[in-house]
């Protein structure tokens, strides 16, 4: 069955995946914490900018969940991980062409490895989110809700979704020249089509229905729910789960189909 044999192949080579992820992290954090600073600084600065634009300049009544800054930080950090997964997986096979050509490994591994490495980077930024949460709890502006225990689920979903889409993007980028540009544009649109800046319940009903088709929308809702009122739209979360599973299988199928052509090209 499609997917199962690929999963077995990956598990048999988890040692290799580990080696590669460690190497990625070593290159990124080579001898300093500067690598970490960059991963954190970018979304933090963006959060600050959006905060100023929406609350000070536009003086919006309500930007999203309150406190709005925490709303922005949670959204932007998770989105950054997802967005990096998309740009990096689309290059995954091309950038390692020499390794792909010379080692007989399940080729899906090159996609999984990128998402994992970016995932470790993301997890390392979680203390920043925790620090802000604690600050807002002390000042009484928010309180944790039991749904915080579902946070790991949202991370697993982001991982699986990224692998699924990545298995489509990686081979297609090898075969189609300008795919990387398309990915960039779609990501920019996706940023606004995902409730990063706003919250889904603020959108008009028609748009809320449309958001159901964006798996990142439900995943982000699940990720955030513990930090705020603890409510989430069950429909959008279950839709995200279904879409993630579907995309994972579609990705596995597309990858297997395009693999022979890809190996001839790189």
């Amino acid at each position: 069955m499609i997917g199962v044999s690929q999963f077995r192949g990956l598990m048999a080579n988890r040692q290799v995946v580990r080696t590669l992820v460690e190497r990625d992290l070593r290159v990124r954090y080579a001898g300093s914490v500067l690598g970490w600073v960059w991963t954190v600084l970018d979304p933090l600065l963006m959060a600050l900018i959006y905060l100023v634009v929406f609350t000070v300049i536009f003086q919006a009544r309500r930007g999203g969940h309150q406190p709005y800054f925490l709303h922005l930080v949670t959204g932007l950090f998770l989105w950054q991980w997802f967005a990096q997964n998309m740009t990096e997986t689309s290059r995954a096979l091309l950038s390692e062409a020499r390794l792909v050509r010379s080692a007989n490994l399940p080729r899906e591994l090159w996609v999984v490895r990128v998402v994992l490495a970016k995932g470790v980077e993301f997890v390392l930024t979680l203390p920043v989110i925790a620090a802000f949460t604690i600050f807002y709890m002390i000042t009484g502006q928010t309180k944790l809700h039991w749904t915080i225990v579902l946070l790991p689920v949202s991370l697993v979903l982001t991982f699986l979704l990224s692998v699924g889409i990545g298995m489509i993007l990686a081979p297609v980028t090898v075969l189609v020249n300008d795919m990387a540009r398309v990915v960039r544009i779609v990501l920019r649109l996706g940023f606004y089509a995902t409730p990063v800046l706003y919250s889904a319940d603020m959108a008009p009903p028609v748009l809320q229905k449309l958001l159901l088709f964006n798996p990142m929308s439900g995943i982000l809702e699940l990720f955030r729910s513990g930090f705020f009122k603890g409510e989430m739209n069950i429909l959008s979360v279950s839709s995200a789960v279904v879409l993630t599973v579907v995309l994972l299988f579609v990705g596995a199928f597309v990858f297997k189909r395009l693999e022979p052509a890809v190996l001839k090209e790189i």
Binding site: N13, Q15, V16, T19, L20, R23, V27, R98, L99, V100, R101, S102, A103, N104, L105, V174, L175, V176, N177, D178, M179, V182, E259, P260, L263, K264, E265
Partner: protein, 251 residues
């Protein structure tokens, strides 16, 4: 009889005539056509043979006859469009030797990375590390913590050869790599290959050097324009190949 180590059945692979067939979305959408040429040819077709354990096979044929492609499919880094190539046991591919090495990393990191890619655990690499460095020679030993790209190409190949042959895989694929290295190192390589052969390894060798072929291979496979032209004792196969080449030159 034991199952063959390498089993190739009706193998075929089709290529586009222009090496690049990359498409462009812009063209596909705006012009509703794809400017990339779609003419194809079979680089290999209807190839079938078995290789038994411990056998040493030499592959001969002119440039572009599909030798390297065949080797890559046996190594599993290219996938056939028809038929299959099954290998029982892991493969040590001496193809594009330095392919798994990265210029920015040090030689030491590269050894760990490349050996890891071929399935060795960290402990296994630790155990073999000295052997690899010893084989590569004293100049290499002195610079193990240098970025890999600072090594000369000959040195790079030495490390890679030492590593791949230390993997101790049952099947060894060799693609024209014996031509590299200086005289002293080449002798070491020959010696190691002979040791591997007498140690019961299966060897699959691509070479244009009659000397190498006769030295290592007992059996020969002759590829001509993507077809398996003959399969027999290496001397006969080489004789046939030479006769064909002479006939071509004469005509």
């Amino acid at each position: 009889m034991a199952k063959p180590v390498i089993e190739v059945r009706n193998l075929g692979i089709e290529f586009y005539r222009s090496r690049r067939r990359r498409m462009s979305l812009r063209e596909m959408v705006l012009k509703r056509q794809n400017s990339a040429p779609s003419e194809t040819f079979w680089a290999l077709r209807n190839i079938s043979f078995d290789v038994a354990r411990g056998e040493a096979v030499g592959l001969v044929g002119g440039n572009g006859s599909g030798k390297s492609t065949l080797l890559r499919m046996i190594a599993g880094v290219m996938l056939p469009d028809e038929g299959h190539a099954t290998v029982r046991g892991r493969v040590a591919p001496l193809i594009e030797l330095t392919g798994g090495f990265l210029g920015e990393l040090t030689a030491r990191e590269n050894v760990y990375l490349a050996a890891g890619l071929h399935g060795l655990t960290k402990e296994q690499i630790d155990a073999r590390f000295d052997e690899i460095v010893d084989f590569a020679g004293p100049q290499v030993q002195a610079g193990m913590d240098m970025p890999f790209r600072h090594f000369s190409s000959g040195m790079q190949v030495r490390i890679a050869f030492a590593l791949i042959t230390t993997l101790d895989q049952p099947v060894v694929l060799v693609d024209e790599v014996l031509a590299v290295g200086d005289r002293a190192f080449r002798e070491k390589c020959y010696e190691r290959m002979e040791n591997m052969l007498s140690g019961g390894k299966t060897l699959f060798l691509v070479s244009h050097s009659e000397h190498d072929l006769r030295r290592f291979a007992e059996r020969g496979l002759y590829l001509a324009s993507g077809h398996l032209k003959s399969d027999g004792p290496i001397d006969e196969v080489i004789a046939q190949y030479n006769a064909d080449a002479d006939a071509d030159a004469a005509s």
